[in-house]
Symmetry: C2
Subunit: 417 residues, 2 copies
């Protein structure tokens, strides 16, 4: 048997040896030190472990705390009672109940876009990117797919599939010069990038729109981290800033995180109804797999209603006040931005100890350290939310300073939405 | 601008030009003739369109009608009330509430397996297959990935990704000789196949187990269409028949369809706890995207309880009786099988008319015809369920015979579970 063939992998776009080899060391260390693999019951915003330790999770992405809003939970329950089924199990292209259509109408009005929903952003991106790669979502020309090197893994994982439909390259982070160069070289280009990064920061939306105008470039944004938290009625960063809201811009944004519900919205502009059909039929999992269930739809409908009221602005303002308070107490690279994520720099030697101290003091922040980031760039990731109290934020920052975090040397710029 | 580069696609594993080109003609024809794109409110098992037409959906995959079972809906509502949040939005590898762990314990006991859940089967397969391809889920050796040519599109879509981690080939349907040949040639082989096909029929599970024993071959099954509908306590076809329930067999099965809830169960045997960690951390969307929400979990917990009672056997028996009744009235290739899907043969000229007549008579069955299947193999796909009445089935079959379907020439073999 020993002469049987073994295989040498191509590893053009991904490499599980690296991913698992490096990642597993990180996760094992985190879990051994009690700063990952934590289980707790959630009550009134406080998690309680089996051994009675209580903590507030400062790494949860529900930036406006809409996920636990009574109206959102009631919306989920009412929807289950009204439709009497979580999912009428047949592709919606054949037969559907009105449940998704009603939500898509509501979100369409809210965001000023044509909306198609999916069960998750990963499902949406997995389904849409190959259709863009083949030119079926776009203008019929196969674009060179340029993936930003920091694009979220749910986007990057689509590279091998896209590469079977067109050419795929990876660019440096927000490398506008490279993009312009590619636009000059290729008949069409599609740039795939986070509208709002999971480690903090926004895409250069306006500069990209210039390239879109000049070269008819397409941009695929994942704006999951800014929906609800940013913009009038929570329309997110991309839709607040891009002057290219037409066929050249496709955005996906999760309805979990800020929106507090579940599922994902695909936001389209300027496409005919036929394009919607193409997506429903051929965008991978959208054509054959599970849809948002009735509970997620009901929650999203209720959250959409909140987005239409003054309450949303109040929640955003509370979030911004919490961000400003945090920035007044601790220095991070993100200081002064409206972005709700902060990475508190720590040394490689102190980051786990820091996370443990924070946890012991009743808070959870996520440590990131070598080998998942380069040596010398370790940190603790904290997410601000509307519902955190001043006392919680002050106490967290105290503990972080005790653990070696740096207070600001000067007052940060005031935060404006 | 006209001298800019256009791209010639590789099309090694997929081809959207074909998929969309062929598929869209099929869907447009279906929709133009009113046998796709149907919207209806669902009440007591009857759908009602905006213009008042009422029909029973005979192409819904909830084989035991558990999706509308009051205990399942109550379970979803109770879970929402208990956990107070659809999803605590953070990767479960960091912090999780007990919601998924409780379900996984329950399903693990029910199916006699180690269970990891995912939001959908597409997410699970998308995540697991590349880990199998790289040897990280398995025995460390990169297997040749042999995809059955009929494997569901949610499996087939993983080919380009797997091809970046190992070699990928497509085999003829259930081609055991080819598989054995590959097993002799390659150090390791993984066969990817539906345990239960969406067009009817089961995988040759016992014959595959022989190859698994002889060559240490791995098999990845999607058994979504037989879970709940088949086997003691609804454990499905693969787990009822495979003597190779160990590290060499990985099965995914949806918790929507027969189970009536939502989400998916990954069924593992013989792996250490570390493997579960690898899956939670690195199986694509499982590591970063949405999880089953609390409503789907509550529904699945309630459905699991029903699976433990005599009620499940009664529902299965009602399903089998309905299948037998259908087979006594109409001839199909699937006649005599416990499998709940029947494709009623029609000619290419009559299939749309047939679907329209059936719809007018108050039923929906899905037409399949050229160009999505070869000329001469058109048909109407019907799914039997426990909750259909004798009158409904008799009436549907009458209409189908009027539309050209063939009654059985001889009595079919009796159906045994």
């Amino acid at each position: 048997m020993s002469e049987r063939k073994t295989i040498t992998p191509a590893h053009r776009y991904r490499n599980n040896d690296k991913l698992v080899g490096i990642g597993n060391r990180f996760w094992n260390m985190s879990e051994e030190h009690g700063v990952a693999g934590i289980v707790g019951d959630l009550n009134d915003g406080v998690l309680r472990t089996a051994d009675g330790h209580e903590f507030v999770n400062f790494t949860v992405c529900s930036y406006l705390d809409l996920d636990t809003h009574p109206k959102v939970i009631d919306g989920a329950v009412d929807s289950l009672r009204r439709f009497g089924v979580l999912d009428h199990c047949i592709p919606r292209t054949r037969v559907q109940t009105p449940v998704l259509l009603e939500l898509e109408d509501s979100l369409g009005e809210l965001f000023g876009a044509e909306v198609v929903t999916a069960i998750s952003t990963a499902a949406a991106s997995t389904g849409l990117l190959p259709l863009i790669a083949s030119g079926h979502l776009g203008n019929g020309v196969r674009p060179l797919m340029v993936f930003d090197k920091n694009a979220h893994v749910s986007l990057a994982n689509a590279k091998p599939t896209c590469a079977d439909e067109t050419e795929v390259v990876t660019s440096r982070h927000h490398d506008l010069d490279f993009l312009e160069d590619m636009c000059r070289t290729y008949e069409r280009v599609c740039y795939v990038v986070d509208g709002s990064d999971s480690l903090g920061g926004y895409a250069p939306v306006r500069e990209l729109a210039e390239l879109q105008d000049k070269y008819n470039m397409m941009v695929f944004y994942d704006d999951s981290h800014s929906l609800s938290a940013y913009g009038r009625r929570g329309i997110g960063y991309v839709r607040s800033h891009s002057p290219a809201l037409d066929q050249r811009t496709v955005t996906v944004a999760t309805l979990s995180k800020g929106f507090g519900a579940g599922g994902t919205a695909i936001l389209l502009d300027g496409y005919p109804k036929e394009t919607r059909r193409i997506i429903e039929r051929f965008a991978g999992p959208l054509g054959y797999s599970q849809k948002m269930n009735a509970a997620a739809v009901g929650a999203a409908m209720a959250s959409a209603e909140i987005h239409r009221t003054e309450e949303l602005t109040e929640l955003q303002n509370r979030l911004y006040a919490n961000i400003a308070l945090f920035d007044s107490l601790l220095a991070t690279e993100q200081s002064g931005s409206t972005y709700p994520i902060r990475v508190v720099p720590m040394s490689d030697d102190t980051v786990i100890d820091g996370a443990q101290r924070v946890f012991a003091a009743g808070f959870y922040v996520s440590p990131v350290f070598f080998p998942i980031v380069a040596r010398g760039t370790a940190g603790l990731r904290a997410m601000l939310r509307a519902g955190q109290t001043e006392e919680q934020i002050r106490r967290l920052c105290e503990v972080l300073v005790e653990a070696g975090a740096r207070p600001p040397t000067a007052l940060p710029e005031p935060v404006a939405p």
